[in-house]
């Protein structure tokens, strides 16, 4: 049976799409047949970050409206074997997704895939609720600042009351992913620390992704940052994937880096 994982946050622009692309790629790299779905209808971002925007012919909405088959719409990733993308439509409006339609698509995907990653739109309204409704697990993406944490708290409340799992009396397994973490700004108290966020949300920590220029570079190149294994962000996403698979990996990149002698000399980062 496929595992359905929603990547959600409440607040916008915190790194959901970056995370969906990285985690999906990471799972495929570990040998799991994975599909990542863009639920952000109307905005369509995932295909850019996955670098497949020019290969989009049909999209999620076409499949739901039976204008195309799933196989026609699925895009096979060129870099990572076993990875597929189901892009969102840029032209439709948000109401184009229907609950029954989404359910049918997920059921069909579940026959072929081991992991289904759902990239949620921002907000706590219908679009976000649609993306999380069928989830078995949720990666709650949070930035270390008060408004993002508050929104994450809200979306967790919704996960545990309005998802199918919750309606059936179960729970959606929660994972906290803290992104854009900047230890220097935490040290100067401009940002919340990992401990602060864990204390407020009380959700197991899947990983901490440092603020990194590699993310922007990766999205410009259309290659998920997890493929950039030189970068701290890429390594942190690799660790997060391992933890998602149940491995016990120590958290890294939490402390302010003491610049080494050479680095100080060269002024490098």
């Amino acid at each position: 049976m496929a595992k359905i994982i929603v990547v959600t946050s409440g607040k916008g622009g915190v790194g959901k799409t970056t995370t969906s692309a990285a985690i999906a790629t990471g799972l495929a790299m570990r040998g799991f047949k994975t599909v990542v779905i863009d639920f952000d209808v109307g905005l369509r971002n995932l295909d850019l970050i996955m670098g497949c925007e020019r290969r989009v012919v049909y999209d999620f909405v076409n499949v739901i409206k039976k204008e195309a088959t799933l196989n026609q719409a699925l895009i096979k990733d060129k870099r990572t074997p076993g990875l597929f993308i189901l892009p969102a439509s840029q032209t439709r409006d948000k109401d184009a997704l229907s609950m029954e339609g989404v359910q049918t698509v997920l059921e069909n995907l579940a026959k072929d895939f081991e992991y289904i990653i759902c990239d949620s739109p921002a907000g706590i309204e219908q679009g976000a609720q649609m993306a999380l409704y069928f989830a078995d697990e949720a990666i709650v993406v949070t930035n270390p600042e008060v408004s993002s944490v508050r929104d994450s708290d809200r979306i967790i409340g919704i996960l545990q009351s309005k998802s199918l799992k919750a309606e059936q009396g179960g729970t959606v397994k929660e994972h906290l992913l803290l992104t854009r973490y900047n230890p220097e700004r935490v040290a100067s108290a401009e940002m919340l620390s990992v401990a602060d966020v864990e204390d407020i949300l009380a959700v197991p920590l899947l990983g901490v992704i440092p603020e990194s220029e590699a993310v922007l570079k990766a999205s410009n190149q259309g290659a998920p940052v997890i493929l950039d294994q030189e970068s701290e962000a890429g390594q942190a996403y690799l660790d997060a994937v391992s933890r998602l698979l149940g491995e016990d990996v120590k958290h890294r990149f939490l402390e302010v880096q003491k610049k080494g002698f050479l680095k100080r000399l060269l002024g490098g980062k």
């Binding site: 706590i124 708290d153 409340g157 009351s161």
Partner: protein, 243 residues
């Protein structure tokens, strides 16, 4: 110092909610009469909230005016409309009613109580009967109450064994106990029980209220911030003390 003219209090009170599903002038009045006859005392002068959210089709201005008029004639006191379409909102206000947003889905844990259930409580036979001691078990919540959620322990105490987040609200007719950090709002004795108390292991609340009297966050910061504390009513003022 100028004389204090008023004091503001937050409160919760019981109102009858009418979920309007369909409308026909004749049927409406007949059915309303019939309903009221089942428990005249209960409905007499009862505040009424008209919920239009589940109305099938389009409700016209005149129809709404008629509905409100009939309710008034039958002795109800319409106070607000909930879930009116933007087009209807002016009519709602013109009728002197408050326009409330559609029932917030945030109170997801508390199913709306059907009017029927309340009607039963006030049936004459029952009110006259010897009041048997009703012991209701406390409501126990084991998971965090998250921002935007609301939990209400009706007719009993509330025990929360996890955190109550900022932006969350816990209410009880009796006492409230919170064994995680209390960061949201806690309202005990919401039906007016002045003996109700709020107990918590880590006080960081936005607001603590007992029987409608409340203290806000700023005051709590001075008194017992992040400490185990309890709040109780003494006369008309809330006392907060470290336990």
């Amino acid at each position: 110092m100028a004389k204090v003219c008023f004091q503001m209090k937050g409160t919760a009170f019981t109102a009858v909610v009418m979920d309007l599903q369909a409308y026909s002038a004749d049927l409406f009045r007949a059915q309303l009469k019939q309903k009221i006859d089942t428990a005249p005392q209960f409905f007499n002068a009862s505040p009424l909230v008209l919920n239009l959210a589940s109305f099938e089709g389009q409700l016209e201005d005149e129809q709404l005016e008629h509905i409100v008029a009939v309710c008034r004639e039958e002795g109800l006191q319409p106070i607000a409309c909930r879930g009116a379409t933007p087009e209807l909102r002016y009519t709602v206000m013109g009728l002197g009613l408050a326009s409330l947003p559609a029932a917030k889905t945030r109170s997801s844990e508390i199913p709306a109580e059907p009017v029927q259930a309340k009607v039963k409580q006030v049936e004459p036979e029952q009110t006259v009967a010897e009041p048997a001691p009703v012991v209701r078990p406390s409501k126990v919540i084991t998971k965090p109450v998250r921002s935007g959620q609301q939990v209400y322990a009706e007719g009993c105490d509330l025990i929360v064994m996890a955190a109550v987040s900022e932006g969350a609200e816990v209410l009880a007719d009796g006492h409230i106990h919170v064994y995680g950090p209390l960061r949201g709002r806690a309202l005990a004795g919401v039906k007016g029980d002045t003996n109700a108390r709020v107990f918590c292991r880590q006080m960081e609340a936005e607001l603590v209220s007992i029987a409608g009297y409340f203290v806000m966050n700023e005051k709590l910061r001075e008194l017992c911030w992040k400490e185990p504390a309890h709040a109780f009513l003494e006369g008309e003022s809330i006392q907060v003390a470290v336990i």
